[in-house]
Symmetry: C2
Subunit: 356 residues, 2 copies
């Protein structure tokens, strides 16, 4: 697979983004949803801000308070035996190590704009900021699906009640209509298909399961893009492979002559995130036609391997120009990078590896 990584990479880093909160630092500007709006490339950046802690023994957890509309900071001492602080992203209760009690940063969605797709300017304010009780721990990892003049933006809403997937619709990236939680918790990596198929909307989603089951990709359909049913298991993790630990939809599915092309992320149990591809039937996307055995993209560059949470390439969106996919992707849970990949190359890899 030939991938042309932009020479300017990383395109946006935390130091490019001034924090919105006094006493906070931006530790991540990553995992952006992507749209083409008028002549601009729009990145719906996930900006993660963390309260500055001068004492390395003190871990802080910011939580949005719906009543006061302010952030409350919870403080923990690293010596507190009740909690585990090893994962820098979260504070975990020692009796619930597969979940989290608090996050160490609060994320929101902020727009970066570009004329040339390489140099971006960051909006002064947030586009999507926590605004209800499902978002007290932040909003994360937006994806953007254009249908006509409408841009559907869905994202994770995180709170102590769970992780939902929520939807807003905008026509101008200034105002939006709130459609609430479209997937019940616990669910992430929802990708809305860009058109109806046989009269129905479709979405990929990735439930996180408690009692039994893996971090697999499911597919659902909808009459109105807000209510979802007809849930089917689509794609599972694969033992021993690069996508053995968890998988989830990445970019909005791309319509090709061969079928719906989904570029998804997969990680090992050790949290090394790569991107792979799967081809779905054009008339019935619940049918998997082909899947790459090897990743189409792996963390290779220094900015992909090192950061707040290293060894991560995490694409959430792209722009198609003929056969060229301009993919913007989060790196190391820290920054944004860009690259170009030929759709025909991905389809060739899918065909070659499916015939092996």
């Amino acid at each position: 697979m030939t991938i042309y990584r932009y020479k300017e990479n990383p395109l946006i880093t935390p130091i490019d983004v001034p924090p919105l909160h006094e006493g906070f630092e931006v530790i991540g500007a990553f995992n952006a949803g992507v749209a083409k709006y008028k002549n601009e490339t729009i990145l719906l950046l996930r900006v993660a801000e963390r309260p500055v802690s001068k004492d390395s023994q003190v871990i802080k957890a910011p939580v949005y308070d719906c009543q006061t509309e302010k952030i409350v900071i919870h403080r923990f001492n690293r010596s507190d035996k009740t909690y585990d602080f090893e994962d820098p992203r979260m504070i975990r209760s020692k009796d619930k190590m597969d979940g989290f009690s608090f996050l160490t940063s609060l994320s929101y969605i902020r727009i970066a704009r570009s004329q040339d797709g390489h140099t971006f300017t960051i909006d002064d304010q947030a586009f999507l900021y926590p605004s209800n009780r499902y978002q007290t721990y932040g909003v994360e990892d937006a994806r953007c699906t254009q249908i006509g003049d409408d841009y559907y933006i869905n994202f994770s809403s995180v709170s102590e009640m769970g992780v939902c997937d929520s939807l807003v619709v905008t026509k101008d990236f200034v105002t939006y209509q709130d459609k609430g939680n479209i997937f019940a918790p616990e669910n992430k990596d929802v990708l809305l298909f860009p058109e109806k198929i046989n009269g129905k909307y479709y979405a990929l989603h990735r439930p996180s399961l408690k009692s039994i089951g893996n971090y697999d990709i499911w597919i659902a359909s909808s009459p109105d893009i807000e209510a979802w049913g007809n849930h089917h298991h689509l794609l599972g993790v694969r033992p021993e492979k690069w996508d053995s630990g968890r998988i989830g939809g990445g970019l909005v599915p791309i319509k090709t002559a061969k079928g719906w092309l989904e570029i998804y992320h997969g990680a090992t149990a050790e949290h090394r995130y790569c991107m792979g591809a799967v081809l779905l039937d054009i008339d019935d996307p619940t049918i998997v036609l082909a899947r790459t055995e090897t990743p189409i993209m792996e963390p290779e560059e220094d900015y992909e391997k090192k950061g707040f949470f290293g060894d991560v390439v995490f694409g959430c969106g792209g722009i198609l120009e003929g056969d060229t996919l301009i993919m913007y992707y989060g790196v190391a849970d820290t920054s944004m990078a860009g690259c170009e990949i030929k759709i025909s190359d991905i389809l060739a890899q899918l065909e070659a590896e499916s015939n092996r």
Copy 2:
């Protein structure tokens, strides 16, 4: 609260139900959905069958095979250190003790019919039997909502891929139309409201959350009763109370002059299951008007306290006759019992305890 428990209780026990599978024993006939159809009271029994094991060291796990349409039996030795066998309902991997790897019985839905509501005859065959890859571990805990001539029956579909909620619709309790998985995993205790409210269907549901959140009741709405969105958190567990561990919808919501009356189950961390009540706004059931502080019903009788999994009363359905609710309820994950409760008594308790 005055509860008139039927003198014939338990009404149906495992010995009343001949197993459908050779070499199996029925260990449970419980947690039935309830319907009034023509002159009959219909119980949609959850029948749990277990492969007989003559060797107490050997634990067997039955799994439905979609290809052969037969049950495959997996065998485990009690001395196997990889697994935990303490909970008689399941086989748990020791590195995932909050979930399960296999179930020790396979459940399906079988109809019991009665003219008088006290004595029941059991159908010879299953009404709902595993039929797809989401049901390889069985189907469990049906609820039945009548809307006009249609009876909507939803239930848990359990497989190694997760626990979904599925829906079928019948007009005659003989044939049915399959509507697939209406709630993505992991979800249980879905209760469909018996009429549209402001043009939309509503349902209670109870997601099981992995990373963060409790076993709480959520509410969703739907344009067509198959696709669900607009998810809201409705009711949480309450520390230190009888419903501190987990809660879930029980009976189909009952329309009263005071609002929608939901009789739900709550359990402690020690798995003692009681029934409580909550009152929801008649025009907007996402609004909680009142909730009982104490249970309306607790395990008291011997048949409620002792069994396959004791200390459980678990109502999944009832029949309303004027002010009298005839509630049928599972006891000790083993048998079915019946009782009568006055709706006015429940509403009085709700009012008294909410004003405290």
